[in-house]
Amino acid sequence: MASATSSPRRPSASAQSESSQSDRRTVSATQSRNPVSQRLSKVLGTNFDNEDTRQALRTLSDLYAIPRGKEVHIVVDDGDDELGQESFETPLPAPTIVLVESVPGESAARARKNLRRDMETQLAEGSRKFLQALGEVDAKLCELQINVAAMRSSCDEAETQLALTNESSKLLLERAGSLRDERQEVEDKKSIISLFLARFTLSEAEIDALTSREVPIGQRFFQAMDKTERIREDCRVLMAGEDGSTRAGLEIMASTSSHLEQGYEKILRYCSTEFRNLGRDSQLEVSPGIKEAILRLRKRPELLTEALTILSETRQATLLSSFIAALTRGGPSGYPRPIELHAHDPLRYVGDMLAWVHQAIAAEREFLESIFSLKSDGRMVGSVRNAPQSEEEDWMRELMDLAVGKLCVPLKLRVQQTVRSQESSIVSYKIANLLQFYLMTMRRTIGEQALLSSTLKEITDIAYRVFYDSIETQSLALARSRFDHDDPSLTPPHVILDHAQILREVMQVYQSSLLGDEDEDEINAGINQVLDIMIDPVVQMCITNSEEKAKLRPRWDGQVFILNCLCYLQGVLAAFDFTTQKQKDLQTILNKRAKVLTDEHRDSILRDAGLWEITEAIVHHAGEEPLSRIPAAQPADLQRSLKNFSAWLSGLEVVQSPRLSQLIIQKMHTRIHQDALARLAQTYRRICEEVKNPANRYEAAATLLGSERPFGQVHLLWQIFGLEEREREEESESEDDESDGDDSDGSGSGKEGSEE
């Protein structure tokens, strides 16, 4: 619906009425002077179209409205009703009035007629009602007044009461306030206490974790353990304060102590079960739970001991059965073959067993390192350990010792059997050296105190004893033997060659067993016993035996034979550096024997050269009598001797001696021969000196000497011998002796011997 203002094309009703009013004003302006017209125009101009008028008319209309009811038949159409609005003279709707209009406008006419009366009646009626109403109001007001008064008094009373109450509640309030404060205080305390409890007591769940078998060892358990420990630590700190130990503190300590112990017991149970059920596997891996558990148990050494005892038992049994299996059964499919399969090869058998043990130790150590959460330092098993001795190291050493110790019995049994059943001394020696090697290795790996180390020491000693026994038996048997008296040869006999061969092999084994870090004394100490056993009796036997044979067989050259044997032995020794001491000893004997031969040879050369008698005469010449008067030194004898000598000088013997050429060492031959020649030269010089000596009364001494080669010229003789001229015999002889002791001559000749 469009509003009037929003549709300018349709002028509003008020605009229309305004325009009609202005029209009327134009008319009135022309007749303004006439009062009647003025009045008229005023009446005419009166506009009833306003709200008040309408209201008045409506009131009237209501007054005379035709009442609508069932019993009343009103025959009025809607059009009449609208008209009726303008003709407000509709008869009053008095109940008495006949309501049906028989004639249109009848009621309006009646209304117009009775209006005043009706109004007055109405007014009177209204006033009466009003009075009546006011009267009622008056009565009510009187009543109200009474009530108000009553109320006031009650109020006063209440006020008094209130004041009273106020007074008394003030106390209450104060009390309530203090109670509230108290409550706050209590609440603070409570929260502090619950904090305290949370900090100083274990929750149900935590206690459960510690004590119940249902909760497995794991993070939850270990956290509960940590908390318990922390509580106790805190508690101890608190109790150490000024207040000293409190009851709460003591109680906390008591209850946590019980829980803690139960926790530790639980760890112990866990470890025990785990350790008992450790696989029968020799290759082990350790779960983190176990590692943690062992770390914890370190605070309870007695429990740790218990757990580790169980571990140790399992490991001992496991290792032992693995070892026996490896020995007798090998792998399930036969691979690797059982170690005992090679029992016929003693070195391999013993070596395999020891290597198995060594490898088991390595695995065991790795296992224990991980049990104790030790970081492997990358150190290799078998190499020297110089780690600080920690508690874990002690444990590990003990556990290793125990685990591996169990292997000692079967190991010892088998090694001993093998060692004892050896016939070859070389094999015995090899086994002994192998054992020695492992003894060193094990000592470095599991310590000197370990049972395995001492067992190995024992078996090693046994093996060495077996070896020494065998070479001793051999040497003694050799010493007791007699040379074949019918054998004319001067070279070392087979028995000695065989013996030397064994010695050589033993020394080779020894040499290869040296690790290179031993000092000289150690090296010598390791072989000296062998050399003593194998050399000394043989040397002795050689000498006595030969002398014996030489007596029975004078044509057999015992001296050369002895030297040949000794040189041969020396040659065997000379191939090894660690025999120097023995070589020296042997050399001394050799020198002694060589000297005997040298002396014999000098004499025999002197004889062969024809100077023996004259020399004897000179040597034994004493007293006043001149030499030329002594038999054998008389000029004619001297002349003969010198002639013989000259003849000898052109012979072969000057270069070499048939006897000495039997020596297997050419150098020795040369040396002895040259010694003899030197002495010959010196003897010749002496003869010359004596002959030239006027006291000896040789006539024409120079002619006598110059008649035969070398014509009294000693230096010429040295030249013929191809020797450096030596001064005096005695001195050179003693020098010789000394130099022989440490001279390379002997060993040099020995080396030649070894090459033969």
Partner: protein, 245 residues
């Protein structure tokens, strides 16, 4: 604090493994066996290396794909005089690293003897990797790569050249052998359950955990592969999750 020890990835902190394998390192004296091993376990060159006396033990855990393998390594002396000792350690080895010196022809010539020894004394499925060591000394080379490679092929062993000095290819032979052994297990020719195979399983319980927590292992092996860039070995034939685990 010991409790740290036990957090969620504690299994990665501690050394766990799926397989344990025994290796021997053999070859002539002075070829650099000890140096090779030292570089493998310590990641550095071993100065002033002396002749090995008898045998020495060391170990290291390696990752191959998703598998963690603990290697027990036995370094043997090459000197003849220790032969009788070292031969006892061949027993039950799963892998052998056979080392020669590329600058020493003699050490190459003698390989047949070493190989024969190893084949008769170790486990029947012995995996052998031939290593031509001292590859850094190219100028003194006496054995050509091709010749050694041919020898390796003829004798059915793996082959590569390495330098314990520079570290080149030092890890590869060990991983190569491990891979071949794992393949043998996978194909059923090798059974770790059998003693003497030179291989055994890691802790069973852990293995169960591991197989259910593949992801964490996957990430581990991921980093291993990154780190292993220097390792000239491609782990591609190995299919994880097969029946061996």
């Amino acid at each position: 604090m010991p409790s740290n020890y036990y957090d969620s990835d504690a299994t990665e902190l501690v050394e766990t493994y799926d397989f344990l394998m025994k290796y021997i390192v053999i070859g002539e004296a002075g070829t650099g066996k000890s140096c090779l091993l030292h570089h493998f376990t310590h990641n550095s060159f071993k100065d002033h290396s002396q002749h090995t006396i008898g045998v020495e033990f060391s170990s290291r855990t390696v990752r191959l794909g998703e598998k963690r393998i603990k290697l027990q390594l036995w370094d043997t002396a090459g000197q003849e005089r220790f032969r009788s000792v070292t031969r006892s350690y061949y027993r039950g080895a799963a892998g052998a690293i056979l080392v020669y010196d590329i600058t020493n022809r003699e050490s190459f010539i003698n390989l047949s003897r070493w190989l024969a020894d190893a084949r008769t004394l170790a486990s029947p499925n012995l995996v052998v990797v031939l290593v031509g060591n001292k590859s850094d000394r190219e100028d003194d080379r006496e054995v050509e790569w091709a010749e050694a490679s041919r020898w390796a092929a003829e004798n059915d062993v793996h082959f590569l050249e390495a330098s314990s000095l520079t570290g080149e290819n030092v890890e590869a032979p060990f991983l190569m052998a491990a891979r071949a052994i794992l393949l043998a297990i996978e194909s059923g020719t090798l059974d770790p359950e059998k003693a003497g195979s030179g291989v055994s399983y890691g802790d069973r319980a852990l293995r169960r955990v591991n197989s259910s927590s593949r992801l964490s292992f996957g990430s581990l092996s991921g980093s291993a592969r990154r780190k292993g860039g220097a390792v000239k070995l491609k782990v591609k034939n190995w299919i994880p999750g097969s029946k061996c685990c």
